[in-house]
Structure formats: C-alpha cells, structure tokens
C-alpha cells in the first residue's frame, strides 16, 4: 500500500484483540498534516484502543504505523514522544501539589540542578508561543479542570509534539471552556500541528474538525471530510443501519393502563449539571418503548432514576398508579419494577457466588428470622441455572462468568420476580450473537406476558427490532416519540443528532 508523504500519521491494517474480544479489526486511519481529525464512535467502538496503540500504551497484534511516510515502531509512550506524538487522556496525569512549571518539565530537566526561575521562563515562553493561557507558577491543585487540561496540552507541546491526541477533551469542560479549547486547536492547526479529536458528540465534531473517521464495533464505518457530511449521516454511521425483515409478533391490544408514567422528570448528573430535563413518557402494559440516542445524552441517569439510585429534582414517577418518586431500590422493586442495569459487572457483587447474587435482591424470601435457608438458595439457583441455560454452577464466583452468562444471571434474578415494569439498559452491549438473541427473545417473552418494558439502548438496530414505540433522547430531552411502524432510521438519526423537524 502506498502512503502519501504529507500524512502525519498513517495507521494501516491495525488489529488488536483482548482475549476473545476484537477491539480493533484491520483499522486504517490517516491523519494529514495540519488537520483536526475526529475519531467518532460509540463507547467501546475502539477509538481509545486505536489511539493507545499509536501512543505505545498497547501493542497492535497486526498492522503498521507510518509517520511522514516512514514506517515506525512504537513500543512505549517514550517512543511516541520521541516521534512527536502527545496524548491527553480523560484522566490527567498531573501532580496536584506541584506548580504548572514543575509538572510541565517533570522528567525532562537535564542534570541534577534545577533552575526554577529559568524553567518558569521557558514554560511561560512556550505557553505564549502556543497561545495557552495558564500561569506557570500556579499550583495545579488550585486549577480548574479546563486549566488542568491546558497544562496537559502544554506538557505535550513542550515535549515537541507535532501530533496531539485528545481523548474526549470536552467531556469534562464547561461550555465556555470548550470554546477556548476550540480556539486553541484552530491556532495549532494554523501552525501545522495535527490533532486527533476523539469524541462521540456530533455537534462538536461538525464544529471543529476537517475529517471524520467513524468506528463501529472495532471497524472503520466510514471516513469523510467534515464539510461533506452532516450529523444525521454520522449518527447513522455510528449506530449502524437498520436491518430489514425482523419478525416480531404485533403488540397485543394495547391495555388501557399505563404501567410506567414519568411526569416532567428533571435530574442532575454526576457533575451537578442537569442531565434530564422535564422528561415525560408513559409505557403501557405489554409494550416495549425503545429509548434511542447517542450515548451520554441522559440514558444512564434515567436508568438510575428508575433503579432508585438517583434522585429527581422535579417531576413524578408512577408505577401502576403508585407514586414512587425518589423511592429507594427496595420500594421500586416492591412496586414491581425489575431493573437490568447498564453496567452489569458493576452492579453484581463479583466476589460472591452465582447463588448469592441471585438472591441478593430478595433475601427475605430465603431466610427465616434472619438465618439463611441455604438449601432453598441452592435449589433456587440450580433451577434458574437450568431454566436460563447459564453455564455456571451455583458456587462459582460471579466475576469469573462471561458477559453472556452474567447477563443471564441478572435476567434470571429479575424476571423470576415477575416484574410489571422492566427497565432495561444496554442489555446486549458486549454480548456475542447467541447471548444477544437469547436476551432479546426473553424481553419479547416478557412483553407477551404483559410487562411494560422501557428499553434503553444505543444500538438502533436493537431498538428497531424490539420496540412498539420509539422515543429519542437528546441532551436530556425527549426529541419525539414515534410508533415503530412509522419510524424511519433516517428520521430517528435526525432526532438523535438533535435536529427537530419544523
């Protein structure tokens, strides 16, 4: 394969496997000199893996990296820095009690003696040269997140980086800080630097970048100049096109009783900013309502509200006419809400056994006067393992299970309680085909038995295949609700990109 000279970085045929998971599958990535290039994709699409390979944190199993047309080997971040690559990850590597200067020159000062005054001047000059506003003598601990990010960028540039990789740089920033970052990036571009901008926020990609490479499930889903594309097309590339010809029984007669009702729900995210803004939805018994959207638009927070682990600041949650606003997980479950969490591994106790995890939510049913009925727990676990075809024994520690078997444990735990409302978040993320099919068939089975199901998923195929109605979430708001028959992937893509039809 020929590689043009002006390419600052060319990665060719990069593959990386972690165990059986393919994180990168023959990925080609080209970064031209003096451009800002977006690397776009869902969580787990392989963006960070690819850049970690470039920065020497991972070694590719296959493939070759070229810089300025010449093949290079990068075995460590040290190699990467020598080749002029700098990376700013989401988690800053700064020494908080030290000054900006000390952080910038850390590991680079020649000799034993350190002339701090001279170092301050050097850092100040570098900051001025690159137009980065930061005080070299400030202590990092006192800096805001945005300022710390600037220190990280300065650190990379001070080490003569010509290629700058920014891993979701705006995720931690306030809107005005984003503007400042963007103007810095534009000035780098004018100076001939190349920037890789990892993101899953479409409007930022449209605003700042020259080219976009979209990754999906470890593969390149497309590479386009930014000016030739639009958010809708990018959204579709990220989540994939809908498959045609899925078979699914039509919904039963819609039952009159809405089992789950959200009335004007507003809630804050972990950073204290509103993550959900006046969300109103209702889900009928025997219906699957799919909630589509690009990740990070409030899905996680909504699932947590319904799981009873996140408070709302406004609005009401009703389950079968019972008010469960800000109820505890116990009360949610008692009201008939079954919860399949987004991150299953984080929401089971890995060090405990399959049997113990299966009964953890319903211990009262398995104990008399506080003493566990160990026989009953064992029998129960064995029954569920058989019913749900889980490849594990009751005494296996849950953390040793594969993703598919783990999801089945959680499904078994929830579905055995015959929930009237099911809140399911990303139920098939990371699962293989067989496990995915199994989980989906179980959800349809529950729908057939009259459960009201809220299916939160970033996989548009999944939403289209399973849902009776589809709602789209964008920046914490419901952009619209469509029936599954009337919804086209095109229109959903627009809604997911925040474009409301007039």
């Amino acid at each position: 394969m020929t590689v043009d000279l002006p390419h600052a970085v060319a990665m060719r045929g990069i593959s990386k496997r972690f165990g059986t998971v393919v994180a990168s599958d023959r990925v080609d990535f080209t970064l031209r000199s003096g451009e800002i290039h977006a690397l776009l994709g869902e969580n787990g699409a392989g963006k960070t893996t690819l850049m970690r390979i470039l920065y020497g944190l991972y070694q590719a199993d296959e493939g070759q990296i070229y810089m300025n047309g010449l093949p290079v080997t990068i075995h460590s971040p040290k190699d990467a820095i020598r080749h002029g690559i700098g990376m700013v990850s989401q988690h800053f590597a700064l020494v908080a009690p030290h000054t900006v200067t000390e952080n910038v020159i850390l590991g680079m000062s020649p000799g034993l003696r350190l002339d701090l005054r001279q170092a301050h001047e050097a850092v100040r000059a570098a900051a001025a040269e690159f137009g980065i506003q930061v005080d070299p003598e400030a202590t990092v601990r006192d800096l805001s997140v945005g300022q710390r990010q600037r220190v990280e960028i300065l650190k990379a540039l001070y080490r003569n980086a010509r290629v700058l990789v920014l891993d979701e740089p705006t995720a931690v920033l306030l809107p005005q800080e984003v503007e400042q970052l963007f103007s810095s990036l534009r000035s780098f571009k004018e100076k001939g630097f190349s920037v890789v901008f990892i993101s899953h926020k479409l409007h930022e990609v449209m605003a700042i970048t020259d080219h976009v490479t979209v990754l999906r499930a470890g593969r390149v889903a497309g590479e386009v100049p930014t000016r030739d594309t639009n958010p809708n097309e990018l959204a579709r590339m990220m989540v994939g096109r809908s498959t045609i010809g899925t078979t699914r029984k039509p919904a039963k007669e819609p039952q009159s009783l809405p089992a789950l009702v959200l009335e004007g729900i507003t809630a804050l995210g972990n950073k204290g900013l509103p993550a959900l803004k006046e969300i109103s939805l209702s889900v009928q018994a025997g219906e699957i309502l799919g909630l589509a959207g690009v990740s990070g638009n409030g899905q996680t927070e909504l699932a947590e509200v319904l799981a009873g682990i996140r408070q709302v600041t406004q609005g009401r949650v009703l389950v079968c006419d019972q008010d469960v606003t800000n109820a505890t997980p116990q009360r949610m479950m008692a009201a008939g809400v079954g919860r399949i969490p987004e991150d299953t591994r984080a929401n089971v106790v890995g060090q405990m056994t399959v049997a113990q995890n299966m009964v953890l939510e319903t211990l009262d049913q398995f104990s008399q006067k506080g003493t566990l009925d160990r026989q009953a727990i064992r029998r129960y676990a064995e029954t569920l393992i058989q019913d749900y075809q889980i490849k594990a024994s009751p005494d296996d520690r849950v953390r040793t299970l594969s993703g598919g078997n783990l999801q089945k444990v959680v499904l078994a735990r929830v579905l055995t309680q015959k929930p009237r409302v099911l809140v399911v978040a990303q139920p098939t993320r990371g699962l293989d085909v067989a496990a995915t099919e199994y989980v989906r068939s179980k959800l349809l089975e529950q729908r057939g038995e009259g459960a009201a199901i809220l299916l939160i998923s970033e996989d548009l195929d999944e939403i289209l295949q399973l849902s009776d109605r589809i709602a789209v979430l964008y920046e914490g708001k419901i952009m619209g609700v469509r029936t599954a028959h009337g919804a086209s992937p095109h229109e959903l893509g627009l809604l997911m990109a925040g474009v409301q039809k007039g």
Partner: protein
C-alpha cells in the same frame, strides 16, 4: 533478562511450608542480634517457639495472651468484612475497660450473678458508644473512618490517663491506677492456679457468633455485599448506611468487651497500659486470618504464642525484652510477606524475545 511478576497462587502444599520457611528466615535474619548479646540463636528459637508449648502451664498462658487478641481480631475482621475500616479497636478497648472498671467499683457486696453481666454489658456498650461518633461521621458526612477511628484511639488513651491521674488515682499507693474492682465483678478462673478466665470463653463464643452471622445469616450476606461492592449493594436494595452503622457498632462492642475482659480477668483495676496495642494487633490478626473467623483463631493463637515466647526468651537468656520484640516483629513481617508473595510468581524471561515484527 527480564523479571516479570504475575498473579499465580502457589499450590496448596506450599501453605504448609509457610510457617517453617518463615521461622527459618526469621532465625537467619535475627541470629546476628542474638549473637551480639552473647546468647545462642538456637536456644533463642527454642525458648521463643518451643518452650511455650512444652508444658500445660505454659500452654494455658498462651491462651491467656490469646484472649484479648481473639476479641480485637474478630472485631476488626467483622468490620473489614462489611467494608468498614475500623482502626479504632484500641480506643474502643480502652473505653470498654474504663466502663467495666466504673461498674466493677460499684459492685461491692453484690453477687457475681449481678456483677458479671453488668461488667460485660458495660464494656460492650462503652465500646459501641466510642465507635458511634466516627460511624455517624462516615454515613452522614462521608468522612473517612480510617482517620477518625485512628485519632480517637489517642483521645481514649489520654482520657484514661487523665482519669487515672485525677479522680481514680489509687488513694493508698498514689500510683496512676484505679482502686481494685469488687470481688464479685472479677471473672472466675477456668482452671485453678492459672490466669485463664471467663474472658476466654466469651471470646470463643463471640468468634462462633461472628462466624454464624457472616456465613449463615441474611445480614451477613448483606454486609459482605456492602464490603465487596458498595454500589452493587445499594443497587440491590441493601440499606448501605444502616448496614455500615450496624457493623461499626458491633465491631466496637466486641473491642469494648476485650477491654472489660482484661480488667475483670487479668488486672482487676484500670491501668494506663491496659493494652499493649491489642487493638492494632487485631488488625494484623484479621488480615493474617483473611477476615475469616476460623483464620482469626489461628492467627490469634499464633500471635499469642510468639507474644509469650518473646517474654520467655528475654527471661531465660538474660537478654533485654526488646530483643524478644525484635524476634516477634521479624517473624510477623516475614510471615505476612510470605502470605502476600505466595499469590505471585516471578518469571525470568530472556530480553531478546521481542513482540511480533
């Protein structure tokens, strides 16, 4: 050449060798010190480890030493299992001892049937009370209990000092020690002419109780879930704060009982040095015993043994008591190191084997 460390638990038979290797290493590391004092290192090992086991009288003395260690060890193991890092067993023990003394002093002329339960309960309650403050700070204000429980130890120790140098100073001897508690409040001896007392039975009962709670009750399962993964426990509907509070109070109560047991079983009055760090040793015992009550029993007996041995060594060989402390500390460090390292394997790889081209 390149050294690579990977997680790889050693085979089971290796576990049997750990004590032997530890003793051998300790012997090698410390024989220089022993020689410097003009004593025979082999004799030191004999008095340190074999002599305490050589006669029933000495064996019983090991169990006397083990009694407070069983209690503080199981108190810490219980707290750690529930994800509550109680470093404050020492202070809780001091408060238990103080309360037990206060009640014991009031029991003149009562029967043991009244005095003993009151002494025991007062020790437990005082330990609980001392544990309450950091526990509430943890669940209400999210203040790290490691710091607060640790700092309260010093408060407790100085408080006892203040009481002993003030209101409770012995009126006759003027020593900073309380008057002796009532005869009815003194724990009965289990074996005549030995120091083994009721506290040992209480400690065994507490260990069995803790084992039962941890392995057989729904509360035990809930608290372990909190200890392993607090967020998953919360998601599963477990009341995390209430669980942490309960765990902290029970742990404090057990440590308080250790204090009451030392006063009523060994000293009969409150003294400054009621505990030579039993609360801190409890942390070592809990860790050595892998937070498992049965492991705690083994670890407590082990520490009780080398505690007794350290005293024997210095007495028999005429070396300073500190040399016994050196032996004890070395053996402990070596054993802890061995237990930690057995989970890893060191591979030696030639450097040349580069990854794929």
């Amino acid at each position: 050449m390149r050294l690579q460390v990977e997680r790889n638990p050693a085979p089971v038979w290796f576990g049997v060798l750990i004590p032997l290797i530890s003793i051998l290493l300790t012997f090698l590391l410390t024989s220089g010190f022993v020689l410097a004092y003009g004593a025979n290192p082999l004799q030191a090992v004999y008095y340190f480890l074999i002599d305490p086991l050589s006669s029933p009288v000495r064996l019983i003395e090991v169990l006397v030493k083990t009694t407070p260690l069983l209690l503080t060890g199981v108190a810490v193991a219980f707290a750690f299992s529930g994800g509550y890092w109680n470093i404050g067993a020492e202070g809780q023990l001091y408060m238990g001892a103080t309360a037990a003394t206060a009640i014991g002093l009031q029991m003149q002329g009562t029967t043991a049937w009244l005095a003993l339960p009151l002494v025991i309960v007062s020790g437990i309650l005082a330990g609980m009370a001392w544990a309450t403050v950091p526990a509430l700070m943890k669940v209400w204000l999210k203040i790290d209990e490691v710091v607060t429980t640790l700092l309260l130890n010093y408060v407790a120790i100085f408080l006892v000092s203040a009481i002993l140098n003030g209101p409770w100073r012995d009126p006759i001897s003027q020593w900073p020690q309380s008057p002796e508690i009532a005869a009815s409040a003194i724990f009965p001896r289990l074996i005549p002419r030995s120091r083994l007392h009721l506290g040992f039975i209480l400690a065994i009962l507490v260990v069995i109780g803790v084992w039962y709670v941890l392995s057989r009750t729904s509360f035990g399962l809930k608290m372990k879930a909190v200890g392993f993964n607090m967020e998953a426990a919360r998601f599963s509907g477990i009341h995390v704060e209430r669980t942490l509070l309960t765990v902290a109070l029970i742990s404090g109560g057990i440590a308080g009982l250790a204090g009451a047991s030392e006063v009523a079983g060994i000293h009969f009055h409150l003294i400054d040095a009621i505990s030579p760090g039993y609360g801190y040793t409890g942390i070592i015992i809990a860790t050595l015993g892998a937070l498992n009550p049965i492991g705690v029993v083994l670890a407590a007996v082990f520490i009780g043994l080398i505690d007794t041995g350290a005293q024997t060594v210095s007495r028999a060989l005429g070396v300073p008591i500190y040399l016994g402390d050196v032996l004890q500390a070395t053996l402990l460090l070596v054993t802890l190191g061995m237990l930690l390292l057995q989970g890893y394997r060191i591979n030696v790889r030639p450097r040349a084997a580069a990854p794929a081209e």
